[in-house]
Structure formats: C-alpha cells, structure tokens
C-alpha cells in the first residue's frame, strides 16, 4: 500500500512480538488457570454473591457466586476456539477458491467474484444471525456463519496475489521447464500469499471474537449459563456500582485479547 520506510517504532517486528506475547499470556491463563486453581465455572453459591477474591477464586465471584477466575478462563477458551476453527475453515476455503479462480479464470472466476462481492455487501453479523437461526447448536452455528463471512477476505487476497504472481517471469519459466501446478504453488505462490494470510487471519480472529462478544452482549449469541465474554459483561453490568472489578474482569480480558490480535496483525494493512 504505502511506504513503510518512514514508518514507526511500534511497527512490524516489535509490534508483532508484543502481540504474540500478549496472546501467549492470555492463552496461558485460559489453559493453565483452572489447573492452577481447581474449580467449577458453573458452581453457584449465593452466599458469596459479588464477594471479593479468595483462595478458591482469585478474581472474586459474580452475582450468582460463581468463580470469575474459572468463568473467565472458560470464556477465553470458547471464543478463541470458535474463532480459530472459523478462520481455519475460511482460510482454507479462501485459499483454494482464490487460487482456483486466478489459475482458471473464465466463468469459474467470474462466478466466484460475483458471489464474493455479494457476500461482502451483506453485514457479517446479519449472516451469522441467519445461520444461527438455521443451524442447531450455537457454537456450530457461529462456526458456520463466521466461516461463511470470513472466506471472502481470504479469497480476495489469494486471488489478487496469485494473479500477480502467475504472470511473473519466474512462474512462466517454471511452467516452461515442465513443473507441475503443485510445485508452482509451493515454491512461487505460497511464499507470496503466506504473510498476507497471517495478517488476514489475525484480523479475522479479532473480528470473530468481537462478533461473538457483541452478539452475546445483546443477548442473541451464546445462551445463559455458558461462560462467554459478552454474556459475562451483560450479566455483571447491573452490579457495576457494587462490584466494578467483577465487570472489569471480562472487559479487560476482551480488550487484552483483541489488542494482542491487532498488534499481531501488524497494525498497518487493512
């Protein structure tokens, strides 16, 4: 896009490293938190409603006396897991279809481009809501709906990069020498596409996590007892004056997670 030459200190390597570190911290908490302090995210104890931290619950308790430590750890497993599954599916689909479109051209390409353009015109959350209404199971519906929304971006990136690379002298020489499509893809196309895919994957994961949290917050996403970031916020919102820390816990966790992903994406490209 633009010159990176006069760009900034927080840029590529340092920003990415910071992002990866933040994400590692969050993942470490989500995976190891419940191991370090054993407990149940669903166990209620109304005696401890909104109580402060203690040995069994280092982050205190929510309005129903459930341990915020364990609820948060499970919430931080759920959304990223859905997000990673959706991004992996969408990335694979986008990569295959994008390469196919650029390599084949003709009607295949035209149809795929028209489909992608049309999907891009529809708000992602709307598609997710419709798929959620059709599919049984909320997590499955989120995965399917989000994959449907996300593949377009991967498709567009792959197609653009592949088209430019396929006309390059290197690829033409490679083809003249008789190398197969698989070899051309591995040596010429993939190195061009891979860095783009990483950025797009980080942005896609962030968008997905935001979407799941936003739908949870307006009560059309995950259902009540499930620990989910947006849902936790809306549950704790009425008690923000009595227990501001309880509300801040999921808020800060969401912010940290998204900040890590934004930094990992490299900040600059859209």
């Amino acid at each position: 896009m633009t010159t990176f030459a006069n760009s900034l200190p927080l840029n590529m390597p340092l920003g990415r490293a910071m992002g990866a570190m933040v994400l590692a911290l969050v993942a470490g908490f989500a995976l190891l938190g419940p191991v370090l302090v054993p407990g149940d995210p669903f166990a209620q104890s109304l005696m401890k409603s909104l109580a402060g931290p203690d040995a069994g619950a280092p982050f205190g308790y929510d309005h129903l006396g459930r341990s915020l430590w364990h609820r948060l750890a499970h919430a931080l497993r759920l959304s990223p897991a859905i997000a990673l599954a959706a991004v992996a599916t969408a990335g694979a689909a986008g990569l295959i279809l994008g390469t196919l479109a650029a390599a084949r051209g003709g009607w295949v390409e035209r149809l795929l481009v028209i489909l992608a353009d049309a999907l891009m015109a529809l708000p992602g959350l709307l598609l997710v809501l419709i798929v959620l209404a059709i599919m049984p199971g909320t997590a499955l519906g989120f995965w399917a709906g989000l994959s449907l929304v996300l593949w377009v971006e991967f498709f567009r990136l792959t197609r653009a990069a592949t088209r430019a690379t396929l006309t390059s002298p290197a690829v033409q020489a490679s083809r003249l020498l008789g190398f197969r499509a698989a070899y051309v893809f591995r040596t010429h196309l993939w190195p061009e596409i891979a860095p783009l895919m990483l950025t797009a994957a980080a942005f896609g994961t962030a968008t997905t996590i935001m979407g799941i949290a936003a739908l949870g917050f307006v009560s059309v996403g995950m259902r009540a007892p499930t620990p989910e970031l947006g849902l936790m916020m809306v549950e704790l919102l009425p008690y923000w004056r009595e227990a501001p820390m309880a509300l801040l816990t999921p808020v800060l966790a969401t912010f940290t997670l998204l900040l890590g992903l934004t930094l990992l994406a490299g900040g600059q490209k859209q």
Binding site: L8, D117, G124
Partner: protein, 309 residues
C-alpha cells in the same frame, strides 16, 4: 459505465442470496414456526393449537418447497416483501419508518468520525515519525481493540451514569444522538486516521509535493491545493468499505441504547422468526451497501480521473 454494470450484477446477486438465505431460514427453523409466530402475535401465554393452526393456514406453512421457493423469489423480485408476521403491518412501511432513524445515526457517526480522524491523520502524516504520529499510532491501535458495544458501555458509564451529562438511552431529542454516534465514530475515526496518515505521508514524500513547496507556496497552500484531493481518494474508498462495519455497529449499538432503527428491528425479527422482516431489512442493508459504493466509485472517478479504464 463498467463500474455501474458490475455494481448492478452485485445488487442482483445480493438479492438472490438474501432471498435464498431467508427462504432456507423460513424452511429449516427448528421447532414449529407457526407456534413461534403465533406466540409473537398473541403473546406466549395466549398460544394454543388453534391459534398455531390458524397461523399455519394463513401463511401456507405446509407443502413442497420448490413452488414455495419460486413464489418467494417472485415476490422478492417484485419488491413485494409481504407483511410482518408479528405486527401484521407491511414490511415496506415498517422499514421505511425505521430506516430513517438508523440513517441519521449512521450519518452522525460518519460526520463525527470525519471530524476526529482525518484531521489528526493528516497532521500526523505531514510529520511522519513525529510525536503526534507515534501517539496517534498507540491511541488508534488501542481504540481499534475496543469493540463498539464495549465503547458504548464505557461511554454510558462515564458520560451518563457517572457525570450525568447525557441520557444513557432513548430517542427523540438531539442530545440522544451524541452518545451512540460517538461510540460508533471513535472506532471509525481510529481507522480513518490511519488511512489519512498513510496517504498523507506517502503524498508528502512525493516529488510534486516537494516541488510545490520549493516554488514558494506556503505549507497551508500546498496542503490545500495539492494534498487534500489526493488524500481524499483512499479515504473515500475506504469509507465505502466501512459501510458494512458501520451497519454492524449500528445493529449492536441500537440494541444497547434502545434506538428504534433498522438494526434493533432486525435483532427482534430474528428473535421472533419474523422472516419477511429479516428479508426486507437484509435486502435494504445489502442494496444500501451497493448503492453507497456505486456512488463512491463515481465520486472517486471524478476526483481522480487517472484510474478510469
């Protein structure tokens, strides 16, 4: 001309997709749609089998899917969205009523974001690497990591609950606009500012820009005559793409502050399985995106004739 034809193809595909998706939704909803719709009409306490059967009879919910699909798409192509299953009002009338509220909110958000983002971005881009540039990068990265609903939550807690300056929710007076528009605008501005900054930095480094300064124009004149028009091209293009993000934001924010707009209606329609309303709103939003981007294509071609093919 080419631009318009490809946009028309896009609009047609959008209509087809929305039609197919909402038809699939109508058909494959788990549970008895007739019961759900009857519950939406008469309230959950007043539904019985007779009411559900009456709804099934009235809406023709039995039968084979193919003729129903053809009829469905035929109605769609004639812009006959039918009546809302819940309120019984024509969908067109309901949407016309709600679209206005959303449109004003979206326009306020865009206007506000353009007041905040690009000026900061241009100032930062004129001195790439300066303290404003670095500060802006940190702030915009941080703001981008805050989802819009969270931004609304933070603003509500600070501005209306703690300070008591603005109403937390509601619709009608001008002061109700400020909070939701600001919540949307800050997220947009964070990205706007980066786009403007990158564009400005690359243009300020170009030979023609430096020549304009060498020949003795003041900084202000150079920016005004040679800078802004070039910066506006990527900014406008991006604004068109952001429209979808804005619409998503509007859907969520409207639900939070109780804004009687199209997003609020959409969430309720999905809840009550009011498929004609879902179809109407989805189609309206999709075609809106195509229209906005077609206009932006034309405007960009006007501002920057070099790209015309």
């Amino acid at each position: 001309m080419n631009i318009l034809i490809s946009r028309l193809a896009q609009a047609a595909t959008v209509a087809l997709l929305v039609g197919a998706a909402t038809f699939a939704m109508m058909r494959s909803l788990p549970g008895d749609a007739a019961w759900r719709i009857a519950a939406g009409r008469y309230g959950y306490d007043n539904v019985n089998t007779a009411a559900a059967d009456a709804v099934r009879e009235e809406l023709g919910l039995g039968g084979h899917w193919f003729p129903a699909f053809m009829q469905w798409m035929g109605d769609l192509l004639r812009f006959d969205f039918g009546v809302s299953l819940v309120s019984g009002q024509p969908v067109i009338a309901e949407i016309g009523h709600q679209l206005g509220a959303s449109l004003w909110l979206a326009l306020a958000a865009i206007g506000l974001s353009l007041l905040i983002g690009p000026p900061l971005g241009i100032l930062a881009g004129l001195r790439a690497g300066g303290w404003l540039d670095r500060g802006l990068l940190v702030v915009s990265t941080g703001v981008k990591a805050i989802p819009q609903f969270l931004m609304a939550l933070i603003l509500i807690l600070i501005l209306s609950v703690q300070l008591g300056w603005l109403p937390a929710a509601g619709y009608g007076a001008g002061r109700h606009f400020i909070l939701p528009a600001l919540a949307l605008a800050l997220g947009l501005a964070a990205v706007n500012a980066r786009i403007a900054r990158d564009a400005m930095a690359s243009i300020a480094a170009m030979p023609f820009y430096q020549f304009a300064q060498w020949k003795g124009l003041s900084r202000r004149q150079v920016l005004w005559r040679h800078g802004l028009r070039n910066v506006s091209v990527p900014l406008l293009t991006y604004l068109g793409l952001q429209f979808v993000m804005l619409v998503e934001g509007v859907v969520v924010i409207e639900s939070i502050v109780g804004w009687p707009g199209i997003g609020h209606a959409l969430v309720h329609a999905v809840f009550a399985r009011d498929v004609p309303m879902v179809q109407g709103t989805a189609l309206m939003l999709g075609l809106g995106f195509v229209l906005v981007n077609a206009l932006i294509d034309l405007a960009v071609a006007r501002i920057d004739p070099r790209g015309a093919r």
